[in-house]
Each structure stands twice: as structure tokens, then as C-alpha cells.
């Protein structure tokens, strides 16, 4: 019996021990899970605040040395309020790791952290108060890029960023006039340069830069055009008073680019095959075409900013749509010039897109010429009236140039996001 009792007691003790161990393990697991849940937002992706918090904590610890301090965190920046908890937590952890224990209770030492910013960067400032003495520590924090909104509804326009001046190259600050993707490269026409980008694992990277030598000053609202040549590799660039030919000779390495420029007042190919072959003379000291085009449409056109072709079986194959410098949109049908209605919201830039949706062809139109955030919208013109076919697509900047891509199914848009940041987008239309 006694032996049984001992065995039972031993078993009970073992069970209790095992239970304690298990409970301990469960508690440990629960604590670990809680900890994981608490820090999961930080653990899932590296927080952008980790580095500045560590740097600031290091500077504070250097001033204060090991000890206790009261920590306050004030936000004078555009950092969202819900981020503050994580930032405070990071600061506390980093300070503790350096021997500074923080509390919210009154203390002889106070660390006043202010999350501030100026137009260029964020600035985190710590005022370390020890008695009558206050010392200041600061760290810089880069601003995170903001995402551009994308429109949704109806016949949907979709934009895909092809190139961004801030990430693809050293910031030249020069206006971007046009862009074209050939079989060999992405070509960007800047006001004073033609820049060739080649695709790398990290995206488009600047390969070569060719100056556009010109004899006269460019206009203030400079414009340009890039047209592919028949081999699909080369291009022709048109800017005010200058025409450049770019050719590519494939080789075992990266291939070889050459660009030759010459003064030229030849007309620009504003509409290409297979729809039509229309050239227009550009006013090199202004920002518009003179109104003289070849072949002649049979009517006198006023100077215009943009031209597009719409298929019209009844009008000899196509009708020309013209955005005049007087703000009116007109259509050349046959030998007649007709005003298009419903274009009050149109900017001066448009391009045709052969989407296959609806009537098959739409006109993508910029909302205005010079606003903070421009948009593109698709229209059809069944007669002489413009009918919106899509919701506006926010472009995140001012649309500076639009051109129909060589495949006809998309439009290239040059967008100025700010004075130095240009973006090239490919815009396509998705049928409803």
C-alpha cells in the first residue's frame, strides 16, 4: 500500500510537474504570441522609423548616459497619429538598449522628442533636459514617397508607369518633351538632350545622353515628338527647329547608338500609318503648329496644339480632330471644318487610342494644361459631339504631352509631377 502510495504520490508529483511545465510552456507560447502580435506590424516589414529612432536614441544616450528619464513624444509633422505608438515603442527599446530607462512619471531628466519636418525632410529633435541644462539632438528622416491614386469605373483607363526621372537617372531637371520605347531602348527626349535608357534588372537605366544642338532658343512651353523608324530600333526626334535621327547597331555587347541632329523646319508627322500620313509645320518660337499641314485637308486650319485621326468610312477613311489655340476643338470631315461640342472640359492635348472597345477608337484627352493634378479621360465622337466613355484617370501631375504608341492600342503620357520630376506612363483602356 505504502509502495502504491509512493508510486501514486510520485506520479502525482510528476503529473503536477508536467502540468506546471506544460502550463509554463503554454504561458510562454501565449506571451510569445502576444509579443509577436504586438510587434508584428514592425516585424512583418522593416519599419521606416527603425533607423532614425536608433540614431536619435544613440545621440540621447550619449548626452544623458545610463539612467532614468521621462520621455515625451510630440508630433509636429505629417506622420499619422497611429504611427506614434510604434515610434515611441522603438525609441523606448533603443534607449533601454543603451542603458536609458524611460518612464512617463516625473523624473529629474526629461527627454522631449519632437517629430518635426521641413519642406525637404523630416527632422526628429530630442531636447534632453538635465536640471537647468538643455541639450539638443537631431536626426534627419527621408520622406517616404506617396502613391498616386488610380481611377476606377466604367470603361477603365489604366496607367502603368514606364519611367520616372527621379529613379531612372541623375536629376537633370530638364523638361521631358516625349518618350518612345523601341526594340532596343527607351528613348526620352528632354529639352536639350536625347537620353537612351536600357533595361536592367533594376529597371530602365540611363545608357547614353546626346545633346540636341540648336541654333535658336527653345520656346518656353517647349514641345517635341519621337517617331519610330521602320526597323523598330531607331527613331526620329523633332523639336523646335531641329530634327535628330537615332540609329542602333546591334552587336554582341550592348549595341551601339548614334544620334545626328540638324537644323530643320520640316513638318512633323502628327499622324502616322496605317490611319493616315499627315505632317504639320511647327512654330519653333511658340508652342503650337502653324495650321499648315500636308497633305492639305482642303480647308484652312487655324494654328493648333494637337491633332488626331478618327476612322470615318464616310469621310474618305478618317476625320481629323484639331485642338485650336483659340480653345476650340474642330473636326475636318471631308472638306468641311465642323465645331465639336461637349469639349468644354478638354485640355489642349489629346491622342487617339485604338482600344477595340465601343466604337473601336477613342480620344484620350487631358483635363487641362497646367494644373497640380491633371487627368485623362476617354471620349468617343460618334458625330460632332464628344461623349465621355470613362471616368477621369488621375495622373498625379500635369500632362505635358500625349502620343499614340506605335501599336495604336495605348497612349504615352509625359507627366510633370513637380518642377524636377517627370514620369512617363503607358495608358491603356480596358473594355467594360
Amino acid at each position: 500500500m505504502a509502495g502504491n502510495k509512493d508510486i501514486r504520490a510520485d506520479a502525482k508529483a510528476k503529473f503536477m510537474m508536467s502540468l506546471k511545465t506544460r502550463l509554463g510552456r503554454i504561458a510562454c507560447c501565449l506571451f510569445g504570441m502576444m509579443l509577436l502580435l504586438m510587434v508584428s506590424p514592425l516585424a512583418q516589414a522593416e519599419s521606416p522609423w527603425e533607423q532614425p529612432a536608433a540614431q536619435l536614441a544613440a545621440q540621447v544616450a550619449e548626452i544623458l548616459g545610463a539612467g532614468q528619464a521621462q520621455l515625451t513624444v510630440n508630433n509636429r509633422s505629417t506622420i499619422a497619429a497611429q504611427e506614434l505608438h510604434a515610434i515611441r515603442w522603438l525609441l523606448e527599446q533603443d534607449l533601454r538598449a543603451r542603458g536609458v530607462a524611460t518612464s512617463s512619471a516625473e523624473s529629474a531628466n526629461v527627454i522631449r522628442v519632437t517629430l518635426s519636418e521641413n519642406v525637404r525632410e523630416r527632422l526628429w529633435v530630442a531636447e534632453v533636459v538635465e536640471g537647468n541644462q538643455t541639450q539638443v539632438a537631431m536626426v534627419h528622416v527621408d520622406r517616404e514617397p506617396m502613391a498616386a491614386p488610380v481611377a476606377e469605373a466604367g470603361m477603365v483607363l489604366e496607367k502603368k508607369r514606364v519611367w520616372d526621372s527621379l529613379t531612372a537617372t541623375a536629376i537633370s531637371g530638364a523638361p521631358v518633351l516625349a518618350s518612345l520605347e523601341t526594340k532596343a531602348a527607351l528613348v526620352v527626349l528632354e529639352q536639350d538632350d536625347i537620353v537612351v535608357f536600357t533595361m536592367t534588372g533594376a529597371g530602365w537605366r540611363e545608357d547614353k545622353r546626346f545633346p540636341v544642338e540648336r541654333q535658336r532658343a527653345s520656346s518656353r512651353d517647349a514641345r517635341g515628338m519621337l517617331v519610330p523608324v521602320a526597323d523598330g530600333f531607331g527613331f526620329t526626334a523633332y523639336t523646335a527647329g531641329t530634327e535628330c535621327s537615332g540609329s542602333y547597331a546591334p552587336s554582341a555587347g550592348n549595341g551601339d547608338w548614334s544620334v545626328r541632329c540638324h537644323e530643320s523646319d520640316d513638318p512633323w508627322p502628327v499622324i502616322g500609318e496605317p490611319i493616315a500620313n499627315v505632317h504639320a509645320f511647327y512654330n519653333a518660337s511658340r508652342d503650337f503648329f502653324t495650321g499648315v499641314i500636308t497633305p492639305s485637308p482642303g480647308v484652312d486650319l487655324i494654328p493648333f496644339y494637337s491633332m488626331a485621326a478618327l476612322p470615318r468610312a464616310a469621310a474618305g477613311g478618317y476625320a481629323l480632330l484639331v485642338s485650336g489655340i483659340d480653345g476650340k476643338v474642330q473636326m475636318v470631315v471631308g472638306n468641311a471644318l465642323k465645331i465639336v461640342s461637349g469639349t468644354r472640359d478638354w485640355g489642349s492635348d489629346f491622342a487617339a487610342i485604338y482600344s477595340g472597345c465601343g466604337a473601336g477608337t477613342q480620344i484620350l484627352v487631358s483635363g487641362s494644361g497646367e494644373v497640380e493634378s491633371d487627368h485623362l479621360r476617354a471620349y468617343e465622337l460618334p458625330a460632332q459631339e464628344a461623349i465621355a466613355m470613362s471616368a477621369p484617370l488621375e495622373m498625379g501631375g500635369t500632362v505635358m504631352a500625349l502620343s499614340t504608341a506605335p501599336d495604336g492600342a495605348s497612349v504615352w503620357a509625359v507627366v510633370r509631377k513637380n518642377a524636377r520630376d517627370y514620369e512617363v506612363d503607358r495608358v491603356t483602356a480596358l473594355c467594360p
Binding site: R216, A217, R220, D221, D287, S348, S368, E370, V371, A419
Partner: protein, 469 residues
């Protein structure tokens, strides 16, 4: 230290100002690309050809560099630059193919001549400037870390030599530059500018600008409302009233610092500190300047530095009195560089100082605008320009007579330099003020420069058919 709510209100105001500016740019957005042609009429209170902030100055002249809207230094007549010898030597390469308005080419000799003339009127940080081919070399005894930013300032814009300048119809010499507009004539208080077709930046959209000088504010507003003017000045203290009158007002961010300079070097440091504590910035802001701008005790606004909150701006009369102790300060004079709200602000400050035991008499500027040289204190505004905090601070310190540049280009170094300077209490910052302009509905794409001036070279007017109802 200002209460948090007041700081939030300041921030909110700053955002509102920025939004107003943005909204203005949006509302002025062109429905078409900018249209070429048309003539613009501008009215201003002061002299449009005044060097520091004259509206015509930057339309006619270019600098070797320019400061962008976001404060970054950009190429202008110089296409690139480089420094060596620890910033003691700088070389600026000139843009080829640029001509003055009289078609003479811009060359290194013309630039050197212009800069040497500038140095006769203002202090220059370099000891020599020389030509070297199509470039200009600056040599200095001290490092010149911010020379590119400095050369964008009005004082260093490049003028054709007086010998080259043609006589305008008034008989006076024309200002000969390379800018988007050339001087046509200046008579009967009206400066007429016409487009420079050969401008290296491209011809401006406008054909001509007519600037009516020395026009009182109420007459400017009247002309604007009657359609006789397209652009009129609005003093910071009148911005609220202009809004109430439903005028289209474009307001810049803070571009000027209102401050008191202490010229009396015999005042003890604790008396200077007491004066700084006695001044009621909040009252100036709320009453005199009608809540425009920002209260400050620092040289750089928060939008530039990010650390201005480290300089407390609250009035502390009891501490001011304690600092003064039993000392009876000598009677002081306070001169004012300006009229209207500036005069009212000076009188208010004199009352503030009286509360702290100082006797201050306000004296007006002379009829020609000059400030009495023997004034103990001077209330004036200083332009706030520059991209990085260090550049902006160096420009400000130079204007305040200190030629010891902040060498490191970060906020920490700027803060230390600013703290060191302000602890001397030679200057008491009070408010940052914006510049504002009332505009007619005809103007398109109006933006303000970093100095708060309208960028008229990029403004356009609608075509006649667009103007039609």
C-alpha cells in the same frame, strides 16, 4: 513657448496659405496650353526697379544661378559650377549662346564687370573674381560654401555695363540684361517692358508688361476692380481685407522676416535679452498683421528648418523685468523701415518695451526712405531665401552683417549657428511674413518665385475667343 493649440493654428494657417496658393494655381489653370500674346498691367507701391525686391528687376536680369520654387539652386547663366580648395575657389561655366538685350554676347568679362559693380554696392564674400575662358573664377580668403545660392540673389544679377546700355526714352540708362523682358521705356512713373524674342529661356508668353510705380494700395485695388490693372500688391496686413472684398489673392509662403536689429552696442547683454522677452509677438501677429504669417523667435521658418520651435516666442514680462534688474536703461530710439503696418508695429513694440521699463521713441524713416544712422533699434524686414537650412541661414546672416558661414549643410549645424547668433541678442526675430498679390481673372498659370514675386515670364493671357463670355 507657444501653446500647442497656437502652434497647430500656425501650422493650419501655413497649410491654408499653401492651399490658397495651390488653389490659385489650379483656378488659374489653363484650359489650353499657354497662349502667346497680350499685354499685362501691373501696379505696385514701391519702385519696380529697386534692387532688393523690385518686380521688374528679375524680369530683365538673370543671375548665374537661380533658386527654384522649392528652394533648390539651379543653373541659370551658369550651366555648371565646381569648388575646390575647401570652398575658397569656385569656377562657374557660362551658358554659351546667351546675348544681352542689345544683342551683344554674354561673356566672362561682362559677368566679371557686373559682379565687380555689385561689390561696390554690397558686401561680397569673395576677394577676387576673374575670367577663365568661358568661365568665371571666384577666390575667397574664407570658404564660400553657399556661393551658388548667393549668386542667385538680386544683388548679383548680371547687368550689361553702363557703357553698353542704351538710353531709354526718359534719358536715363536702360537696365541691360539677358532676361525674358527688355526695358522699353520708363517715364511718368510707368516702366514698360517688352518681350525678349531671343531670350535663352524662350520668349515669354506675354508681349509686354506695363508697371505703374508708386501707386497707393487703395488705387491699385480700385484699378483692379475696374479692370484697369491685372496685378496689384497686397500688404500682409491687408490680405484679410482683400479676401473680404472677394479679390483673387495669391499668397506666398513666408518670404520675409520681420525683426528688430539692435544697433546700440553699449546695451548690456541682459538688457537685450530683456527686450527680446518683453516684445509681444502674438499681439503683432493678431492685431497689426491680421493673423498673416507666423510668430517666430528664430531666423528660419519651420518650413525651411524644421527646428524653429526650439526658440520660444512667448512674451515673458516678469522675466524681462527680472533680467533688467534695477538697471535704468538709457532712452532708446526705434527707427522703422516702412510705413503703415510697420509703423504701427513699431509703436506697439515701444509700448511693450515700456512695460518692461524701457523708454523707446519711434522715429520714422526719412522722406527718401533712408533710416537714421544713429537709431538704437531698427524694425525692418529681411528676405528669407535659400534651399537648405544652411544656405538660407548663411544668406540671412550675411544680410545681418555676419560673414561667418555655416560650413556643414545639415540642420544640426544650422541650429547651432543660429542659436549662437541669437544668443547675442543683436537681432530679435518677430514674425515671418508672406508676400501677396491680387490678380485679375485673366492671368493664367501665375506662380510666385522663391522671393514671393510673380513669375510673369511664365504667365499667359487667354486668347480673345476664350475671354469672350
Amino acid at each position: 513657448m507657444l501653446p500647442r493649440c497656437a502652434l497647430n493654428a500656425m501650422l493650419a494657417r501655413h497649410i491654408v496659405v499653401t492651399l490658397m496658393l495651390t488653389a490659385m494655381a489650379v483656378s488659374a489653370g489653363a484650359r489650353t496650353r499657354p497662349h502667346y500674346g497680350g499685354s499685362l498691367r501691373v501696379e505696385v507701391e514701391g519702385d519696380p526697379l529697386q534692387r532688393s525686391d523690385g518686380i521688374a528687376w528679375r524680369l530683365v536680369l538673370d543671375g548665374l544661378t537661380r533658386v527654384d520654387f522649392d528652394g533648390a539652386v539651379r543653373p541659370s547663366l551658369a550651366v555648371r559650377w565646381a569648388s575646390d580648395d575647401g570652398g575658397h575657389r569656385w569656377q562657374f561655366w557660362l551658358r554659351p549662346g546667351v546675348s544681352f538685350h542689345n544683342s551683344r554676347p554674354l561673356n566672362a568679362l561682362a559677368v566679371v564687370t557686373s559682379l565687380e559693380e555689385s561689390c561696390r554696392a554690397t558686401a561680397c564674400p569673395w576677394t577676387a573674381v576673374r575670367t577663365l575662358g568661358l568661365s568665371v573664377v571666384f577666390l575667397g580668403d574664407n570658404p564660400m560654401p553657399d556661393l551658388p545660392a548667393l549668386l542667385a540673389e538680386s544683388e548679383f544679377l548680371i547687368k550689361g555695363s553702363s557703357a553698353q546700355a542704351a538710353e531709354v526714352e526718359t534719358g536715363g540708362p536702360a537696365i541691360l540684361g539677358t532676361g525674358p523682358f527688355r526695358m522699353k521705356d520708363a517715364k511718368d512713373g510707368v516702366v514698360r517692358l517688352e518681350a525678349n524674342d531671343d531670350c535663352w529661356q524662350g520668349r515669354p508668353f506675354l508681349d509686354a508688361i506695363e508697371i505703374d510705380a508708386h501707386r497707393p494700395a487703395h488705387e491699385q485695388w480700385m484699378d483692379l476692380s475696374l479692370g484697369n490693372a491685372d496685378l496689384a500688391e497686397v500688404r500682409p496686413s491687408d490680405i484679410r481685407q482683400a479676401h473680404q472684398q472677394r479679390m483673387n489673392v495669391v499668397v506666398s509662403p513666408s518670404v520675409a522676416l520681420l525683426a528688430v536689429e539692435i544697433h546700440n552696442t553699449e546695451l548690456a547683454p541682459q538688457l537685450r535679452a530683456a527686450m527680446a522677452l518683453a516684445m509681444d509677438r502674438a499681439a503683432l501677429f493678431q492685431v497689426i498683421f491680421q493673423k498673416q504669417g507666423e510668430v517666430t523667435a528664430s531666423l528660419l521658418p519651420a518650413s525651411l528648418s524644421g527646428y524653429s520651435f526650439l526658440f520660444p516666442a512667448e512674451r515673458d514680462l516678469s522675466r524681462a523685468q527680472a533680467l533688467r534688474g534695477g538697471v535704468a536703461p538709457p532712452p532708446l530710439t526705434l527707427a522703422v523701415d516702412g510705413t503703415g503696418a510697420m509703423q504701427l508695429a513699431a509703436e506697439r513694440l515701444a509700448l511693450n518695451l515700456h512695460d518692461a521699463g524701457f523708454t523707446v521713441r519711434v522715429i520714422a524713416a526719412a522722406s527718401n526712405g533712408s533710416i537714421p544712422i544713429n537709431a538704437d533699434l531698427v524694425l525692418r524686414t529681411f528676405p528669407v531665401v535659400g534651399g537648405t537650412p544652411a544656405e538660407a541661414l548663411n544668406a540671412m546672416l550675411r544680410r545681418l552683417g555676419l560673414n561667418a558661414p555655416v560650413l556643414a549643410q545639415d540642420a544640426v549645424a544650422s541650429y547651432k549657428a543660429e542659436r549662437e547668433f541669437l544668443d547675442r541678442h543683436a537681432v530679435i526675430p518677430l514674425l515671418y511674413l508672406p508676400r501677396a498679390w491680387a490678380v485679375s481673372g485673366r492671368l493664367r498659370d501665375l506662380q510666385l518665385t522663391a522671393e514671393g514675386l510673380p513669375d510673369l515670364a511664365n504667365v499667359s493671357l487667354p486668347s480673345s475667343s476664350e475671354e469672350a463670355p
